[in-house]
Symmetry: C2
Subunit: 197 residues, 2 copies
């Protein structure tokens, strides 16, 4: 190859990632060990999971607590859960649809409770201002095809689903009698049907 | 009055209460301040509420923690709540009966949560082996007159009532949309009615 005058071929040095990308790459790599170990994770476990030296992690995040905070944010991120809800087929039979929503909510609540326990978060999980509206928007779209059979607004159904799923997700509360998502879907489906018997 | 030979009238000296009665009397007197102050209560507040010297309290209970433990037991005692449920008229309309049960459960859950907070009890409240069976026994008696309209066993209705009341009692969870006991009663009443639509 004939290079233009003034150019030469040199071996390009591996350039370090920009700081934000580097942090994201480390987070991606350590997320599984964070999910398992929570606040008890050691710097060594983190470095091993990320395949870098401990010093690299500390340089990227400042300190271990900042990494733990960023990890907690990622683990509580509702986006994957919402994506899952949005993929529920809109033409599923009404009661089945409710059962799938309740089951997804229970998995999500269970997940959040476990992460909070592992990260020793006291009190309720951090709440984002938009969370309620986002939840309603998803359920409205999902239940729109069933609107004619409802005796209450879709939003009300959304809150009932959340209510029963929440209680059914708290392990110690379900000691006496655990609930099945399909049976709860039946209760809600009949409970919100148009024209009470 | 002519006394029989060998008897004489004497002024009877005020006898000290037996230790158990004394402890109960102190507990009765300090319960309101315990309910308000929980673990933060001072010995002085306790003595003032009981109208005795601090030393008398310590002699009766050994130490402040023992008094606090005994007070916690009394505050969590389910007997008054159960008495209240047993006084619900059995001939109330079905849905109204469910609403009254849900409301009573919510008051009780709210009470238990507050007491646990004030006494800094971590995790679920102490559970007695018999609690589930006691709860079922009360609801069976209350809903027996409505058995014919139910599409599920009375026990199942009992657990559904407890489930919705529990979720509706946890304040941070109800931030987006609080529930009314009557509306929850409607959902359950229609949800458990015989022959699903």
């Amino acid at each position: 190859m004939q290079l233009p005058a003034g150019f030469a071929v040199v071996r390009e040095r591996a350039r370090p990632l920009p700081p934000d990308d580097r942090r994201e790459a480390i987070l991606d790599a350590v997320l599984p060990v964070l999910r398992e170990r929570g606040r008890d994770v050691t710097s060594r476990e983190l470095a091993e999971a990320a395949g870098v030296a401990e010093g690299t992690i500390f340089r990227a995040f400042g300190d271990k607590d900042s990494l733990l905070d960023a990890g907690l944010q990622r683990l509580l991120d509702p986006a994957p859960f919402r994506g899952e809800l949005r993929r529920i087929p809109h033409d599923l039979p009404f009661e089945d649809k409710l059962a799938v929503i309740i089951e997804a909510l229970r998995v999500r609540f269970g997940d959040v409770f476990q992460i909070m326990r592992l990260f020793q978060v006291e009190g309720p999980p951090p709440r984002r201002a938009q969370a309620g509206e986002d939840w309603l928007e998803i359920v409205r779209e999902l239940l729109e095809p069933d609107a004619a059979r409802l005796g209450v607004p879709i939003d009300t159904v959304a809150w009932y689903l959340r209510l029963v799923a929440f209680g059914a997700s708290i392990e110690p509360f379900n000691h006496f009698r655990p609930f099945d998502s399909a049976e709860l879907a039946t209760v809600i489906a009949h409970g919100v049907a148009v024209a009470p018997r």
